[in-house]
């Protein structure tokens, strides 16, 4: 089945994906959003639902991006974008910030990924074993340390290659860490059985989803 066979389906846009993830984050959680696609999730959490966003560079309690004329040059996130701080936010140094991550204090981390395997392995930092100077940043700490790791990514590569795979072929970020995957086509849990489909884009059939996924998909038991 080719990519064009997904005819009746309406894949989620990036903002729709972000909103879908945001919907599942309850009030009170401490959350780190990875650089890239996941960053947009924060914009879809209503301000009255207090979720505490963490950034690796020692910022806890980030608020939305500032207005252009209200930028604080001393306040950036791990993606080196200007951010704001909510009332109740605080600053700390890098070792304390990563103690939050590595000590299991974050309820959730959302990362982008190149590949996720059905055993929960994630590959998100290098696209080849021979990458000359791969940039890992805090991804390995986040993947290994957070209470829950969710991945947010396109379901396939631009070329249509599956990103939900039996075994990762790219260098791993962490082993058996991913709990759930949000793609433009589906929400999929990683369980001891493998991938279990929780939700699908409107108009998409299970068969169409399977056709775009290397590993076997399961329906909730």
């Amino acid at each position: 089945m080719s990519a064009t066979a997904v005819s009746a389906a309406k894949p989620l846009t990036r903002p729709e994906m972000a909103a879908r993830v945001a919907r599942d984050i309850p009030e009170g959680w401490y959350v780190n959003l990875g650089i890239g696609i996941p960053t947009a999730v924060a914009d879809h959490v209503p301000v009255e639902r207090e979720v505490v966003f963490h950034s690796e560079n020692g910022v806890l309690g980030m608020g939305p991006a500032p207005a252009k004329d209200a930028v604080d040059p001393w306040l950036i996130n791990a993606g080196k974008q200007y951010v704001t701080l909510r009332d109740g936010g605080s600053f700390c140094h890098h070792a304390d910030s990563f103690a939050m991550i590595r000590g299991g204090h974050l309820d959730l981390c959302v990362l982008g990924a190149f590949q996720v395997a059905e055993n929960g392995d994630i590959a998100n930092w290098a696209t080849s074993e021979n990458d000359t100077a791969p940039a890992v940043g805090g991804a390995m700490d986040l993947a290994a340390g957070a209470k829950r790791l969710w991945v947010m990514m396109e379901h396939t590569t631009k070329d249509g290659a599956p990103k939900l795979v039996r075994r990762c072929t790219y260098p791993l970020t962490a082993v058996g860490a991913v709990k759930r995957i949000y793609t433009n086509l589906a929400v999929i849990d990683v369980t001891p059985l493998g991938f279990v489909v929780r939700d699908m884009a409107p108009g998409l059939t299970f068969e169409e989803l399977q056709a775009r996924t290397e590993a076997t998909l399961h329906v909730p038991g």
Binding site: E27, G88, S90, C92, G103
Partner: protein
């Protein structure tokens, strides 16, 4: 709205289980969560493991908890205090276990628990009784002892200021073990002298961020006194 403040001691103590490991802040009388210790006495959990710097003074607080037979084991650096009669009586009678830990190792084991480090090496105690039965390793010509992290089920903390997100500051030598224990426990319960509105504590001056705190009880008891 995130609101970690609790109104009553019963709420503060809810769910502490028999057999729990409880980390108790304070050094001398300063930064010691006396109200919470009394709350724990009232609450009734038993078979407890207590980690604290000392093993109680006189017949109140931790000493009272021990005297009631509720403490199975104490982990501390300095069981001798100005008046350690309860601990010493129980210990001689074989009714309480003692694990002596060098003070810095005690602090670092809890810091490690909070930071996701299950095992680390330290020079402290190498070649002494503290190293007996422990793994040791030569690194660059010096002997180091392996120490494991010391996580708590519960931490009892005394703060100077707290807010509804659980952000805390401490006052002078009242800081001591409190921030480290707050990091190390699954359930961190705080008594605070002052309850502040959210945003009132300068974000550059928060000592313990709310991520390490679960419950905040306002206990404006005033100055510490006596040891």
């Amino acid at each position: 709205m995130i609101d970690k403040t609790v109104r009553t001691m019963a709420e503060a103590m809810a769910g502490i289980q028999d057999g729990a490991t409880v980390l108790v802040g304070g050094f001398g009388a300063v930064g010691q969560p006396n109200a919470l210790i009394d709350g724990l006495i009232e609450q009734g959990a038993k078979d407890l493991v207590i980690a604290a710097n000392n093993a109680g003074v006189g017949h109140t607080g931790l000493a009272r908890l021990m005297e009631l037979g509720r403490v199975r084991k104490i982990i501390c650096s300095f069981p001798r205090s100005s008046d350690p009669v309860v601990f010493e009586t129980l210990y001689r009678a074989g009714r309480i276990e003692l694990e002596i830990v060098p003070q810095g190792t005690l602090a670092e084991r809890m810091h490690a628990a909070g930071a996701g480090i299950p095992l680390f090496f330290t020079a402290t105690g190498a070649g002494t009784k503290m190293a007996v039965g422990k793994e040791t390793r030569e690194i660059d010509g010096r002997t180091y002892v392996a120490e494991t992290s010391l996580p708590g089920d519960v931490a009892l903390i005394e703060a100077w200021e707290g807010d509804r997100w659980g952000n805390l500051t401490f006052r002078k030598s009242g800081r001591n073990f409190n921030p480290v224990m707050a990091m190390a426990a699954k359930l961190t319960i705080v008594q605070t002298q002052h309850l502040r509105a959210l945003g009132e504590i300068d974000p550059d001056h928060v000592h313990t961020p709310g991520i390490f705190v679960d419950r905040v009880l306002h206990v404006p008891y005033g100055d510490p006194s006596g040891f």
